[in-house]
Symmetry: C2
């Protein structure tokens, strides 16, 4: 009998924001797998570090950070093959995912390769989206408001068009796209935006976008709420 593949959302970074289910599955894991940068650093593993059993086997999937996609796809091929060895031997494999596995997560590339052959369960996690709202004290959406979530790399015109018609906007993965985002928000007269860096981590920063640094890390977000429910004010 084959093992089960678990894709486990760990939440935004504070280990206490993982779910009870994530905690149970990781603390009982025989095999854990996780993505890592080429130098071996893994944000996902760092979130779960205190929960991973000492004797668990670990599979590191080194994801090359290149614009071309083939090298990353080859890394997922290799990771899926390494995971499949354990599943075939009847061992469950727990894949650690920062945030939520199906929300801009690398787990989906493993899911696409393995879920057709092995029993697979996805455990959702707290996303950085609601975490940013929580730590900045800004309610995200009420009643009939539409929430639009936009990745920072989106092309400038497309980004402007989407934000123009949205009530509440969260821009993810800001990083080097910050100057472009500032231009878009300024052109739309949206001056009341919040900038959040590494939400829920000890080095978290929360400030008005006007006060944000010129260069932002990858794990930073911008939150814009426009159509505020008058009952909230």
């Amino acid at each position: 009998m084959s093992g089960t593949l678990y894709g486990i959302g760990l939440g935004p970074g504070d280990p206490e924001l993982m779910t009870l289910k994530a905690y149970r599955l990781i603390s009982g894991a025989e095999v854990v797998a996780y993505p890592a940068l080429e130098d071996g650093e893994s944000f996902a593993r760092s979130i779960a570090a205190d929960v991973i059993p000492e004797d668990a086997a670990e599979i590191t999937i080194h994801i090359p950070m290149t614009v071309e996609r083939d090298p990353a796809q080859a890394a997922y091929d290799q990771g899926a093959a390494d995971i499949a060895v354990h599943l075939d031997a009847g061992r469950d494999v727990v894949v650690l995912c920062e945030g939520d596995p199906f929300f801009y997560g690398s787990f989906m590339y493993l899911f696409a390769r393995l879920s057709g052959k092995y029993e697979t369960e996805v455990v959702p996690g707290v996303t950085s989206v609601t975490t940013c709202a929580a730590v900045s004290g800004r309610p995200l959406t009420a009643r009939n408001e539409v929430l639009t979530i936009i990745p920072g790399p989106l092309e400038e015109t497309a980004m402007r068009d989407r934000i123009a018609v949205a009530e509440a906007v969260v821009i993810m993965k800001v990083g080097r796209h910050l100057p472009k985002i500032r231009r878009v928000l300024s052109a739309l007269n949206l001056t009341n935006a919040a900038y959040i860096e590494r939400a829920s981590l000890p080095n978290q920063k929360v400030m008005a976008l006007d006060d944000a640094p010129e260069t932002a890390p990858y794990f930073s977000m911008i939150l814009v709420t426009k159509g505020q429910d008058p009952w909230l004010n």
Copy 2:
């Protein structure tokens, strides 16, 4: 010294999808508060039922389900006053919130009334959005895809316009709006939608929208993914 107000996201319904932080704060609570229907039924309380200490004081905020907003606002006024009595006496108050407190949650109405006067902390929770993706095995968004989250009550033309330009769409609070949503998706030729009812609960249902019942409960959602990353297929 006043107590601290905590708005705590409990996740989508499965008690195991609450965070470790929610568990810690609720299990140590002196006072818990939660919204309930007029008959006293509280989804939020039911999620946390096994964690609430037996000797905790409980504040029930009965929210009238009317189209007019004044009765609900009066209920939040009363709830905020009941909570303030404990905060003034130096006791922390834990407000139980289904899903995430700042994501279409009633907590924001208490937050608007109390956060200016009392220390307040919002603990994010797993939303039904990523839970629906997890239980239906459909990755939500990859790379530069935009995610649009739409409340079911949104007017038909606005709904169509938003969905027409979106890559991935989640429609929340479907309920009696299902026929309208079917019309919109059909007009846009979006036939590949999933219908999810009570995600993560024992009576959860997941099916193609075409197979969905004529009448949907309030806690049902529709998931449409259009611009699929070719690397996921």
